[in-house]
Amino acid sequence: MGISPVLWQFLVKWLHNSALFPAEASTIAPYTDALYFFLIAMTVVGMFLVVVLVFVFSLKYRREKSPVATQVEGSTLLEATWTIIPLAIFLVTFVWGALLYFRIYDPPANAMNIYVVGKQWMWKAEHPGGQHEINALHVPAGRPVQLTMISQDVFHSFSIPDFRVKREVIPGRYTTVWFQATTPGSYHIFCTQYCGTQHSMMIGEVTVLTPEDYDKWTKQSTSGMSLAQNGERLFASMGCNACHSGTAAARGPSLAGVYGSRLTLANGGQVLVNDAYLRDAILNPSQHVTAGFAPIMPTYQGQISEDGLIDLVEFIKNMQSNYRVQQTQMTGETDQAAPTTPGEGTTETVKP
């Protein structure tokens, strides 16, 4: 009636742009939503039961109708009922939730890997092909993507609500999350763990591209140096190649092909060599001595940034022979550690 048309327009627009349910933009989202609707149904039924009981009893046994209470001790049968039925429902929820958990956190073997470094207050995404992004992430639709994440300072948490995935990003430890985006578009990235002053500014956009657009983007936005190439350069300039040269006289173990293998340590333990192991072995070598070698490697704690560590890990991951290490060692001795152009295909993530 008396409402001003300007205000009316504003209200219509405001309500129209408001969100009520997140988009389902990953393969996981429908599974999460199915459990969510089951849980909502459980809540509604539970709530309905309680409300009906309270209402009916209140009407039927209010003092005007029921002036004298009949004392009842209890009823084992009834109590057993409302112990066992909720327990059964909760156990269903437990199993369902556990299945979903493993679906969300177990990446498929063919997932492409992208590194994410969190720091106060930004997300840095590092693609193996040398694309670096801040508060943005470009991924192809229809391909599983795994994020290997680490924090440079405090706890962060990487969340893409429209994909229904989230994982804590922790200092000193790689955590992973994976997803397969289904619908091209752009979706929020949030940091959900309180991380200091600009916590609410630590947001970004994940852009899902069609495979063709993604290829175009990959070609256009590469820095020209893959992570492995950066790692190779670092490997030489930090002098790693002096010991890890793969020659018979080398003081450190050969790293070619080590990724994905099982390693016997000097203390007799067996480890699977993965990203986390490589990172730990660089920072804290005395705890990770390969059997047959002396504990002479110094720690690199505080000398390499998380980005540098990712480069090194990526380099070692892709290292199939020691040929180039020995080559750089030669040139390294003359202090000209310029890397040569890598051959075709070395930028591809090679899965062991």
């Binding site: 997140p22 209890g74 009823s75 327990l87 430890r173 002053t197 609410s200 500014m201």
Partner: protein
């Protein structure tokens, strides 16, 4: 028998002749010192009541400021640092200075000795000491606030709290450390009192359920709080001298802090809610004139909650890279801890069956509790379910869940208890229709505030966000509107309860016709509670015994 049956059980003495008893705990001694140096559990309870109310309104003011800032998506009311301090202070004050001591330190302190027929708690001086510790903790918190605040969040997450913030972390941690001891002492006092000081005939299974739930909470306080103290000391040491327990570059583990912190802070939610459940048992029984349905089950469900409550802490860390096996175990245990709460809800509902129900204010609050706690509890199952937790944790869903349990549950229970026992504590009735209005306003305001937050959470709005994407605004505006209504609902009792201290109707001994020992003595009680130590030869909630006793009194006096 043509007279219509009244729809109330309230039975007040004739107001033209009734007086407050000449000698009672309030006027037994005079002067400020007689309060500050008292050993009387009832006076200490009143000291606590005044102090926690003070802190409740400070914490509430911060909540109001948070909601005001979130009215718009832009960070425009205060700076980000100030906003972070707001929610930190809101959390610290509400949890450590209001919710943890709320029911035990006030109603528990006042009524547990009376309910079991004792003259006081086992250690009256330690009881007073615990109030002083609380006040020192509270004052230090305010000091941290005045000096410039603290912005760690109430969870003090390392390494943020140890290495990255320049605010008054140590002052706030010390405050909580000290307030923690106040809670340990209260718990210790209750445990010893309930074990050793029950009146002749007051067996464990004749105790009111309020005593059972406070007993369970006390065990949690005594066993859990020291772990929090340890965690806070380690945070302080890490900050001051860098011992490196939580610092990965020194070989520490930042997740260790979370384990230690949640080892206390998960049981802490049961410390907060269990005493409230005790209140609900008393209120529902009294206003339906019936023994609580399945007394033993309700009593043992408190103990079960206390027991299981210690083994679910890692469900706060499902997405933090804990091992898959521990995630499974903790999720399963979380499902188990939900069961005793479900048992309680249904037992309370069936207490109403075949009762003779009236709807005084405490009962309205208790109904509010049952509804809101059911939602709060069931949404907890969402979060305990591993895969669901990934999407929901650290969002507004968890904020809404926690507030449904703590505010919708605990605060409703606290208000139910305050109204229920107000006549006993002060000797005067609160105004009935105004208080019913307040209960309804609180219920509506609460739902309007927190229901939209569930939707916001599923949309993915992270908690502790100063600014948010504009498409979340409508729901945030609703929430802020609700908070305004809720604020009115909380101000009203403060006003009319204050008014009733002078102008309320004289309550007499037993305005509700309740069975507890506390209702068989004068209001307000004598300093020594009982003229002669009672001998208990009847079960809890024995309304037939009460009726018989009242008939006999009439005959004897007549």
């Amino acid at each position: 028998m043509s007279a219509p049956i009244s729809n109330t059980i309230v039975n007040l003495p004739d107001q033209s002749t009734a007086t407050i008893p000449k000698r009672n705990y309030i006027n037994n001694e005079h002067g400020l010192l007689s309060w500050l140096l008292t050993g009387d559990h009832k006076r200490i309870a009143m000291l606590y009541l005044i102090s926690i109310t003070f802190f409740f309104f400070i914490g509430g003011a911060f909540a109001g400021l948070i909601r005001l800032e979130l009215l718009t998506p832009q960070p425009d009311l205060v700076s980000s640092d100030t906003y972070n301090k707001f929610f930190t202070m809101h959390g610290i004050i509400m949890i450590f200075l209001f919710l943890v001591p709320s029911v035990p330190a006030t109603l528990g302190n006042f009524f547990i000795p009376i309910m079991i027929g004792a003259k006081d708690l086992a250690f009256p001086k330690i009881n007073l000491l615990s109030w002083y510790l609380y006040m020192i903790g509270g004052t230090l918190t305010l000091t941290a606030l005045v000096l410039g605040g603290v912005d760690t969040g109430w969870t003090f997450t390392t390494p943020l709290s140890t290495h990255y913030l320049n605010t008054h972390v140590i002052t706030a941690a010390t405050a909580i450390f000290i307030a923690g001891f106040s809670s340990i002492f209260t718990g210790l006092n209750f445990i010893v009192t309930i074990h050793r000081m029950r009146a002749p005939g007051m067996t464990w299974f004749r105790m009111p359920l309020f005593c059972w739930s406070n007993y369970a909470a006390s065990v949690l306080m005594v066993l859990g709080t020291p772990v929090l103290a340890i965690a806070l000391v380690l945070v302080a040491l890490e900050r001051l001298v860098g011992i490196g327990v939580f610092d990965p570059t020194k070989g520490g583990d930042p997740l260790l802090f979370q384990h230690l912190f949640w080892f206390y802070s998960h049981p802490a939610v049961y410390i907060m809610i269990l005493p409230g459940m005790g209140v609900i048992s008393e209120v529902i029984s009294t206003f339906s004139r019936k023994r609580v349905f399945g007394y033993t089950a309700v009593a043992f469900s408190s103990v079960a909650i206390a027991l299981f409550g210690f083994f679910v802490w890692a469900h706060h860390m499902f997405i933090m890279g804990v091992s898959n096996y521990s995630a499974l175990v903790f999720s399963l245990l979380t499902m188990l801890v939900a069961v005793p709460s479900a048992i309680k809800i249904f037992n309370w509902a069936f207490t109403l069956q075949k009762g003779s129900i009236t709807f005084e204010t405490p009962m309205l609050y208790a109904f509010g509790f049952m509804g809101l706690f059911t939602i709060g509890g069931l949404t907890g199952v969402f979060l305990g379910s591993l895969g669901m937790d990934i999407h929901l944790t650290e969002t507004y869903f968890i904020v809404a869940h926690f507030h449904f349990v703590m505010v919708g549950g605990m605060l409703m229970a606290f208000l139910a208890g305050i109204h229920f026992w107000w006549p006993k504590m002060t000797g005067r009735m609160y105004p009935e229709s105004l208080s019913k209005l307040a209960a309804v306003i609180t219920f509506i305001g609460f739902n309007l505030t927190f229901l939209p937050q569930f939707i916001l959470g599923y949309l993915g709005m992270p908690r502790r966000y100063h600014a948010y994407p504009p498409e979340f605004q409508v729901l945030n505006v609703l929430s802020t509107a609700g908070a305004t209504v809720l604020g009115v609902g909380y101000m009203l009792p403060l006003l009319y309860l204050g008014w009733s201290l002078k102008y309320g109707a004289i309550a007499g001994n037993n305005p509700w016709q309740a069975t507890g020992l506390e209702w068989q003595i004068q209001s307000p009680p004598l300093t020594e509670n009982f003229v002669t130590i009672p001998i208990v030869d009847y079960e809890a909630y024995d309304y037939e015994w009460l009726e018989k006793k009242q008939r006999e009194e009439v005959t004897t006096v007549g």
